[in-house]
Amino acid sequence: MIGTAAMICLGIGLLFNILGVIGILRFPDVYTRLHAETKMTTFGTIFLSLGVILYAGGMLIQTDDTQYLTLAIHTTIAVIALAFTNATGSHAIARAAHKSGQRPDPSVVDRLAEVKGK
């Protein structure tokens, strides 16, 4: 039962990761590509980790072996670290891109360029 739930989580995670990769190829500029490649893959990887946590929890109940508790906790810490570093990293890439002169193209509005006066 828990094995099936873990498999469903793995499936959802893989689906979002695949869509993220397709997004890199289809979107027009650096900012829209960042949306696809950083956010969607983060969400997909959260679901992959959720699958691991569910599997480890199921094995912990069945076998009472503490190595599965360690596996579940370490995966949870990995998810937290991933969420923080991915948000910070994609912000840093976007900021560097805008500072180095990459304008959103196409764009309907760009308040930041208006303020910087370029």
Binding site: R26, Y31, H35, K39, T70, I73, A87, A94, L112
Partner: protein, 191 residues
């Protein structure tokens, strides 16, 4: 924990001893999480507990100036510490799921109207700004590009700028999220 930009370093706030204790306890809890399941005293072995105490004292002495830079220990309030994971699991995760499905449809159809808008956050502390900017960036379709430190405004790249946001000079942070009042939650946690 979380620094107020207005406060000068090492002035105001509470005593260094309390800041050291807060840092050491946080380091010890992190060590307990990493070594859970190693023995029989609840979940930990005797040697892991002793080593953990020694290491957390060393970490506390070395890093309390950075960790409690503002001198404010308001994040040690248990209510805030309980609200933070609840916030991450319920409102943030549901917003992430909704936005992910939205962006997934845009990946397939290729229908994007990108643009950078100026967002008024209304946050008073640096920690609130950090959590809000990270929440915005973690939600697909919105990406914080730059921050104005003096007015506490964010410049956010949207993958699809709705017509009503396009005309506005400054957008309220609540309009970026559709289901929950995310800035309200962050204000309750961090301020």
């Amino acid at each position: 924990m979380g620094s107020d930009g207005a406060l000068p370093l090492h002035e105001g706030g509470c005593l260094p001893v309390i800041r050291f204790l807060a840092t050491a306890i946080a380091a010890f809890v992190a060590y307990l999480f990493l070594t859970a399941g190693s023995g029989t005293i609840i979940l930990w072995s005797e040697s892991e507990l002793i080593i953990g105490c020694i290491l957390s004292v060393i970490v506390g002495i070395a890093s309390y100036r950075t960790f409690c830079r503002s001198g404010s220990v308001r994040m040690a309030n248990p209510l805030r510490l309980i609200l933070l994971p609840i916030y991450a699991i319920i409102p943030l995760f549901i917003e992430m799921a909704r936005a992910n499905i939205d962006v997934a449809i845009r990946v397939i159809t290729g229908n994007v109207k990108p643009g950078i808008v100026r967002v008024d956050t209304g946050m008073k502390t640096e920690l609130g700004m950090l959590i809000l900017a990270n929440s915005i960036t973690l939600t697909p379709g919105t990406l914080s590009v730059d921050v104005d430190d003096t007015t506490r405004e964010l410049y956010v790249h949207l993958i699809n700028v709705p017509d009503e946001l396009r005309e506005k000079k400054v957008v309220d942070a609540r309009e970026l999220f559709s289901i929950f009042n995310i800035p309200g939650w962050i204000r309750r946690i961090a301020e």
